[in-house]
């Protein structure tokens, strides 16, 4: 397993009268080389959870094991640098983190911090920028001259340039238009092909179905489910209501058909699956 949470509890201001407990007894596994999606309503603890993967937060109790690195409440700040080298983290609206004079310099920031020589960092940055389709003509420009979509891709490159074996993303597609979203899903697939472990938070179930091998559902700071998308999205409808979770659009459509008396043999999760089922149904 690339990432294992063992009985992790987390609360802000632990030990004071104002302590607010955010995560309760989290035990999960995220398999190596696979794509894990984390879903759940806003405020269910998803962002707090992923900040434990690279030690931005430390568990109040329990431990997190990331590729052999053990993180617990008494892990020293100095040790974390080796963990952060393994784990690339992309936050929501990552374009807000850009700072350097040029696009290239910004992308070189992480590898340089991790002790890579300037030349190698430059090479890594160029490769990363190419991978996320940032045109070479932009490399010497200031990141603040770029469009929003380009800035997002530069920020992604900034995480990929240090060649992390695990990539964690918090709603990477938020605010992107349809094409930008599709490009991002392609990138996620590509990262998997390169052998990386990918973890991402998403509110869009269609994205989850499109790329995830494994889904973790969070609800009020606890793990409500961890299983394959296929198993998960075939659960009963009432369960989704209590979790405040939606079905993928194909599943929603199938439910509407069922209400009108058209019953499909099983709940489809993608557009293609849905259309095939309907075509078969209509033929017979």
């Amino acid at each position: 397993m690339a990432i294992t949470f063992e009985k992790v509890n987390f609360s802000y201001g632990a030990g004071t009268s104002l302590a607010t407990s955010i995560l309760h007894d989290i035990t999960i596994e995220m398999p190596t080389g696979q794509i894990t999606a984390i879903v759940g309503q806003t405020g269910s603890g998803k962002s707090t959870l992923i900040q434990h993967i690279n030690g931005l937060l430390k568990p109040t109790s329990g431990r997190v094991i990331v590729d052999g690195f053990e993180l617990s409440h008494n892990t020293k700040e100095k040790q974390l640098i080796s963990l952060r080298q393994k784990v690339g983290m992309v936050f929501q609206f990552p374009e807000n983190q850009l700072f350097a004079n040029t696009v290239l310099e910004d992308v070189m920031y992480a590898p340089m911090n991790f002790g890579v020589s300037k030349q190698d960092a430059q090479l890594a940055a160029q490769q990363a920028l190419t991978r996320v389709n940032v045109n070479e003509a932009l490399w010497a420009k200031s990141p603040f001259e770029l469009s929003g979509g380009q800035m997002r891709r530069v920020a992604l490159a900034g995480t990929l340039a240090s060649n992390p074996s695990i990539v964690v993303m918090d709603e990477p597609a938020a605010g992107l238009d349809p094409k930008g979203q599709n490009d991002l899903l392609d990138l996620v697939r590509e990262l998997k092909e390169m052998g990386k472990t990918v973890v991402f938070i998403s509110h869009q179930m269609d994205h989850v179905v499109a790329v995830a091998d494994h889904v973790v559902v969070m609800h009020e700071g606890e793990i409500a489910a961890q299983e394959s998308p296929k198993l998960l999205f075939n659960r009963e409808l009432s369960w989704f209501n209590t979790m405040k979770l939606s079905l993928p659009k194909a599943g929603q459509f199938a439910e509407k058909l069922r209400m009108q008396g058209m019953l499909l043999p099983y709940r489809p999760l993608t557009l293609v699956e849905l259309s095939q089922l309907i075509n078969k149904e209509v033929q017979s």
Partner: protein, 273 residues
Amino acid sequence: MIEAIKINNLKYSYQGSQQLFDDFNLTIQVGQWVALVGHNGSGKSTLAKLILGLIVANSGDIDVFGERLSVATVNHVRAQIGMVFQNPDNQFVGATVADDVAFGLENMQKPSSEMPKLIDEALEIVGMQAFKNREPHMLSGGQKQRVALASVLALNPKIIILDEATAMLDPEGRDMVMQTLQKLKARFGSELTLITITHDMDEASLADRVVVINDGKLILDGEPATVFSERDIMHSNGLELPFAGELLAKLDKRPNSYLDERELVQWLSHLKK
């Protein structure tokens, strides 16, 4: 008949860069709900800023209710248009929900004694009166956007423009805002012209009319059913159809014309019977 907005031969270019709008024309009737759609960078948000006079066109005319936009009229024109922006945090001026709604009223120099009633009314329309004394950081994104809408409604605008107002929200927040818009439209009918700028087609399909823009050019314009029948054109402009539209294209047996989701479900279930 006077149009709500009439744009004639509009030309606009960013400082030093290429032409964004070149002889752009668009007319919006009073009481219409128009969805202005296009991919990021297509120029749709720029258009909204031009209408409000936040940026100035190189040439061409913009008329709002027959009044030509100019330096002299810009304040009067703005007084008739309300706008909700993308980022919920960056348009929350007041320290509490009530203070935020009050901000516009204070600018309009409404007497203090009338304000509580106007604030309550506006918050009631968007269903936020229970949150009157809350501070912004205690609200969700969807709630903040509804407050932004209330702040605009309190000023009694004839036109409301929502510039990607749901882009930064989670699905729950998005649904909240869209439901509020539908309620608004049902309540004010032809008294309110609504312009929603978006790249979410499920959102656009709620409008009376969909206008597709790319590179500052008008690509498609018509009722949702008409626009969404043009799947290839939509795709080549970086947009998708609403889910039902994409499904339609993949069915062996298809209806004669475009159907929205509800209609398609009906049609399919009848087919089976």
